[in-house]
């Protein structure tokens, strides 16, 4: 899938770090204030809706329940299980996707064969492969790790292939004229030039694989936040369920922000 990369790219900061002056700066401040207001407005909406129905847990009750999870410790078992599956699976998926993506990006022939196959499966939700993993590994950490790895693999693979392919011809020509070895070309030209694009894939892969882990746990698991959600739902402990969803959102957002920051560092030096 190469469509709409322009729209999926986060808005880029101006190339040169200059503080805008005068009215421009006032406009930027207004924009930033309005952006900050969005979550506040969302919280206000949540506050208004929650008293109307018992299906929505009140914001403060939710936060209190989450705090209780950390203070009295009931959250840790699930959190640790999910986090370890996500971390291991993510590393596994990245370790597999990166070299394959690099090879595909560098070889037109391989790309011709594999690109249509990879792009063709883009619309297949990876979660339907979870029962296969369960059949192989049984319910537990291995199957979940595998699910995370598969979910992270594709976005990272596609981003790596695309960014390695886009490395400018003049840089590659420079490398050849300087008689750079394959390893030098990879380490000193291709990878640094492709790094920001690869980071986009890693960022998207992280969120997607994290959510895949939760959904997989919801389906079948021994432990994890997803399992706790389904247990809380079954026993109608809505505050607990909302608290876990909130935690998941916070973790995913923080992870996303950190990776986005890294990506911008790579892009602008």
């Amino acid at each position: 899938m190469t469509v709409t990369t322009s729209a999926t790219e986060p808005p880029r900061a101006a190339g040169i770090h200059e503080e805008p002056q005068g009215p421009e700066r006032a406009k930027r401040r207004r924009l930033q204030a309005a952006r900050m207001a969005v979550p506040i407005g969302f919280l206000a909406l949540w506050l208004t809706v929650s008293p109307l129905t018992e299906l929505v847990s009140a914001p403060f009750a939710t936060i209190a329940e989450l705090a209780d999870g950390f203070l009295s410790g009931w959250i840790y078992e699930g959190l640790v299980a999910t986090a370890s599956a996500v971390l291991m699976g993510f590393l596994l998926g990245t370790a597999a996707a990166f070299p394959i993506g690099y090879l595909l990006g560098r070889s037109t022939g391989l790309r011709r064969i594999f690109d249509p196959l990879i792009a063709g499966t883009f619309a297949v939700p990876r979660i339907i492969l979870y029962p296969v993993l369960l059949a192989v590994f049984g319910v537990g950490l291995e199957a979940e790790t595998g699910m995370v790895a598969i979910s992270a693999f594709f976005p990272i693979l596609m981003a790596t292939t695309a960014s390695v392919k886009q490395v400018s011809e003049s840089l590659l020509k420079l490398g050849r004229s300087l008689r750079a070895s394959r390893l030098q070309t990879a380490a000193k030209i291709v990878i640094p030039d492709a790094a920001p694009g690869i980071m986009v894939g890693i960022r998207i892969g992280f969120s997607i694989s994290f959510i895949a882990a939760i959904i997989a746990e919801f389906f079948a698991a021994k432990d994890g936040l997803g399992l706790m959600i389904s247990e809380a739902y079954a026993s109608l402990e809505l505050a607990r369920m909302y608290a876990i969803v909130l935690l998941i959102l916070v973790i995913a957002s923080v992870g996303n922000l950190v990776l986005w920051w890294l990506e911008r560092r790579l892009r602008h030096g």
Partner: protein
């Protein structure tokens, strides 16, 4: 150092197709051998031929037709809802650039962090059934449509609206005869991506939330240890998704070519 430069002979598509077909056939043959010889246990993977036979048996049944209808109609409803909302949002964000600038980063981050994660809340509010699935799939479909519409409209050459003004175009004419066609090359990929997300969202949510549908059957047969049926339905879900993807990408390419 005998060959220098990249004077590589370009190969035609015929060669690539053969390689792709060979790869797939080879993989299936490998799995067939591994399963027939007992290298892979039938509880992990039944022989592909058995899955194929089972698939042929399932397809004519009424139960299959019902599951397929459920899934396809959910995808279509989710897509239509998502596309309408997405187009409206995209146009609104373009007409009111400040509002667009405020919400753009949130829309972009919903790309990488799909609304899929909100399923427990929707489950709590809407209960088990078609409603939470449609909501999630529609919201996933909406994002690319909204973003691409906004970007497509923003990218329109500013001299085009000026031209319309100089020709005394009405507002309707401006939208239909100038803005819509000019933004189409970006709106169409947004719609295609939106449809694909509707497919992903529907099947994934059916897998965990639904009482019927193709995605549901995969989980259902897993739980009842009908491994052959489970694989047959994984195949069905994959074929639906791949077919939709390939057809839509072809359509998109056609439209883009016609526009140029």
């Amino acid at each position: 150092m005998t060959t220098i430069g990249r004077s590589r002979v370009k190969s035609g598509p015929a060669w690539t197709h053969a390689a792709q077909a060979g790869l797939i056939v080879g993989l299936v043959a490998l799995l067939e051998t591994a399963t027939q010889t007992g290298l892979i246990s039938p509880m992990v993977l039944p022989p592909p031929s058995d899955i194929g036979v089972r698939l042929a048996e399932i397809v004519p049944t009424a139960a299959f037709a019902q599951d397929l209808t459920t899934t396809v109609s959910t995808v279509l409803i989710a897509f239509v809802v998502g596309a309408i909302l997405g187009l409206a949002l995209g146009i609104g964000f373009w007409r009111f650039p400040f509002v667009g600038a405020v919400f753009e980063p949130y829309l972009v981050s919903m790309y990488s962090m799909p609304t899929l994660v909100l399923y427990p809340i929707l489950l709590a509010i809407l209960g088990v059934g078609a409603a939470p699935i449609v909501v999630i799939a529609a919201s996933m479909a909406m994002i690319p449509v909204a973003l691409n519409t906004m970007v497509g409209l923003r990218a329109i050459n500013p001299s085009l609206p000026k031209l319309a003004k100089s020709l005394n175009c009405t507002r309707v004419q401006l939208y239909w005869k100038i803005l819509a066609p000019a933004a189409t090359p970006l709106i169409v990929p947004g719609l295609v991506l939106g449809f694909i997300y509707a497919v992903i969202g529907t099947i994934a949510m059916e897998f965990i939330l639904a009482p019927n549908g193709v995605g549901f059957r995969i989980g259902y047969f897993y739980r009842s240890f009908d491994i052959v049926d489970m694989y047959a339905y994984i195949l069905v879900a994959s074929i639906i998704a791949i077919t939709a993807n390939v057809l839509l990408n072809r359509l998109e390419r056609r439209i883009r070519q016609d526009m140029q």
